[in-house]
């Protein structure tokens, strides 16, 4: 398929069944498009889409017309007022709409076709894909072709819209979003490209139409927990993260009798029962386990952290593991100070971060003088705790690029893959809520900026550099973790998941595209020269 984009004209969508006017809010004085001006036409830039749409409609109508009528069109034509293309096309189309069955085309159409100066001929001559318009004589058997093509068109339109957004042409982006929304009604949004496109169109809409620049989806911490739980159940990514981290922590705690785990995002504490049980069964008996869980404060007076802690304590008691829990309520990870964790120097410490570190990354474009990236400070105080192991699980994607279009493209591919993997899940309502969870992430990546954009995913290679600079060295995850991950995957019904080993880290992906990466680190013992600096980094930069 040849995409017929010129510099300023987007791919138009198939016509609506009733004539619709584009409701573009024109904020700047009407400018004349330069390219068409060169061909002798005066068309306002803001009308370009409108004109393109109408012309495409004419073209499809002509393609559908019986061949004998086309030869009729090739008679002499007169083009009146050639510069006012916009009005002229509209009048043609209003005539066309009246004649539904198109056995004969209005003679006015001949004006459009035969005059060699009428239009840039390359437009009309190009081979269009099979008409995807809802023309009434469309055969039912062509529906799947229609959908596929609609899907491809949606993707093209999404990319074009993202380009407009990057260039700041929000009015063009806005009208394209409306067109995409109407195209969406003709596509199956229950699965496949339709569903992904729906999420991205929604996110773009929030970005373009929200007052005050960008709006994510508001949601309470409680809602987030529920969505997270369903995401946990519907697909293996979080289970993989938990089991892999637990295996690494278990191995790191070997031989220690007092151990302390710091969890950067407790949620429902689903990661810890398995670790408690594994510690209970370890040869030589269980250690004394302390767990410090960090989570957002609960708004309604419930101490949800404490409730989770009590539940974990009950489980630990039933399997005879000495256990103590402490909750640290903080709405942002950077608000946590190391003294809140009350780490005892004699215990072996494990720091566990499942998809939390990326929220600490300042955008690369931000002025470092105003606010240094909290990531450096947090990594600094983690190091000061002298942990035996730091388990880090992150999305394997680059959603923190400075350019919007790059970010958009990357996230479109990433989340399409993730939605694909979710399609295989048959559990409802888990699947639907898991999709909402993913949709919120997409919204944050696409429609938020600045400090509101928390989902700043970076790939494993970049985390390696960052953690290396902060004084951590990688711990290879080992074959036990790999075997366990592979076993876990065999339990999931979808056959497309794959676990790969990547220089001592494990990644879980769908059909050879890694989507989530798990790694383990430990801090080098600090030299005398370094430690005072580390203390300063931990304390001063807040």
């Amino acid at each position: 398929m040849v995409p017929y984009e010129t510099a300023a004209i987007p791919i138009a969508n198939p016509p609506a069944t009733s004539s619709s006017t584009t409701t573009t809010a024109i904020s700047k004085p009407p400018e004349i498009d330069g390219l068409l001006a060169g061909a002798g036409y005066k068309v306002r830039s803001s009308d370009l889409r409108h004109v393109a749409q109408r012309l495409e409609r004419l073209e499809t109508a002509m393609l559908n017309s019986p061949s004998q009528h086309l030869s009729l069109l090739a008679s002499d034509a007169v083009l009146y007022n050639p510069s006012d293309l916009s009005t002229w096309v509209d009048s043609l189309l209003s005539e066309l709409n009246q004649s539904q069955s198109l056995p004969s085309l209005p003679s006015d159409l001949s004006d459009l076709v035969s005059n060699p100066t009428a239009l840039d001929g390359s437009w009309m001559d190009q081979q269009l894909p099979p008409p995807t318009a809802a023309i009434h004589n469309q055969q039912p058997s062509q529906l799947t072709v229609v959908e596929e093509d609609s899907g491809i068109r949606l993707v093209h339109m999404l990319m074009t819209c993202a380009e407009y957004v990057q260039r700041g042409e929000l009015s063009l982006a806005g009208s394209l979003i409306q067109d995409m929304q109407s195209l969406l009604t003709r596509v199956n949004t229950g699965c496949g490209i339709g569903k992904v496109a729906g999420c991205f169109i929604d996110a773009l809409g929030r970005r373009v139409f929200a007052a005050g620049g960008g709006g994510g989806i508001p949601g309470s911490a409680y809602e987030t927990e529920i969505l997270y739980h369903h995401f946990y159940e519907a697909c293996p990514y979080l289970k993989f993260a938990h089991f892999t981290a637990n295996q690494a922590i278990l191995e790191a705690f070997d031989g220690h009798d007092c151990v302390h785990v710091v969890d950067f995002n407790l949620m429902h504490g689903l990661q810890w029962p398995a670790l408690i049980q594994a510690l209970a069964l370890r040869p030589g008996g269980p250690p004394t386990l302390r767990l410090t869980g960090i989570g957002p404060p609960s708004p309604d007076g419930r101490d949800s952290l404490r409730e989770i802690g009590l539940r974990l304590a009950e489980l630990a008691r039933s399997v005879n593991v000495r256990f103590a829990f402490r909750g640290v309520a903080a709405s942002r990870l950077e608000d946590v100070k190391p003294w809140m964790l009350q780490v005892n120097p004699k215990e072996a410490v494990a720091v566990n971060s499942i998809m939390q570190l990326h929220k600490l990354l300042a955008g690369p474009g931000l002025d470092p003088a105003h606010r240094p990236a909290p990531i450096e400070a947090v990594l600094g105080w983690i190091r000061s705790l002298n942990p035996k192991i730091v388990t880090v699980v992150e999305h394997e994607a680059d959603h923190n690029q400075p350019g919007f279009l790059d970010r958009f493209t990357e996230s479109l591919y990433y989340y399409s893959t993730m939605f694909d993997s979710l399609d295989a899940c048959a559990l409802q309502p888990e699947k639907a809520l898991a999709e909402v969870y993913i949709q919120r992430e997409i919204c944050n990546v696409v429609s938020c900026e600045g400090s509101a954009r928390l989902e700043r995913h970076e790939p494993l290679a970049r985390w390696r550099e960052r953690l290396g600079r902060a004084g951590f060295r990688p711990l290879h995850l080992g074959s036990n973790a790999f075997k366990q991950a592979s076993m876990l995957l065999t339990l999931f019904s979808a056959e497309g998941y794959c676990v790969e080993e990547n220089e001592g880290c494990l990644t879980l992906g769908w059909h050879s595209r890694p989507l989530i990466a798990a790694s383990a680190w430990h801090a080098l013992p600090e030299t005398a020269a370094v430690s005072p600096d580390v203390a300063v980094v931990g304390g001063a930069v807040m």
């Binding site: 637990n246 029962p273 398995a274 069964l281 009950e314 888990e430 366990q484 076993m487």
Partner: protein
């Protein structure tokens, strides 16, 4: 020797399987899960024996370290472990290797933890019930 057999073996009347609970238990222990459930339908005595956790322990893991039993009992018992975890897992792995045993125990533990929450049926193992996509 447990409950005295009413008829001596050499006495000509033979040995009834229902006469010795321990022997009956040992026999039932060697069956597969479905057969144990079928056996539980035979009569009241067989039903009570089929419910014994020791029968299900054999079904779950044949050779494990002694520390496993108190943990499993604390998490709900072997019969529950079998129904909830081992049976779906056996479709995809043998549970003969210690790491497979460990994985099933971990999954069982998450399940138990969810029951502690008390808010609706635990669902973390629902994914095991899905038919394998071939």
């Amino acid at each position: 020797m447990p409950a005295a057999s009413r008829n001596s073996i050499g006495g000509g009347r033979g040995f009834g399987i229902n006469d010795d609970v321990d022997i009956l238990t040992e026999v039932l222990k060697r069956l597969d899960g479905r057969s144990v459930c079928v056996a539980a339908c035979v009569c009241r005595q067989w039903s009570s024996i089929a419910r014994k956790d020791s029968v299900w322990e054999e079904l779950c893991f044949r050779h494990v370290s002694p520390g496993v039993r108190p943990v499993v009992v604390a998490l709900g018992g072997y019969k529950r472990l079998y129904m909830v975890c081992v049976r779906p897992l056996l479709k995809r792995m043998t549970l003969a290797r210690p790491d497979e045993v460990q994985l099933s125990l971990s999954l069982f533990c998450v399940h138990y933890y969810e029951t502690l929450a008390g808010s609706g049926p635990p669902s973390s193992l629902m994914f095991l019930c899905n038919p394998v996509n071939v």
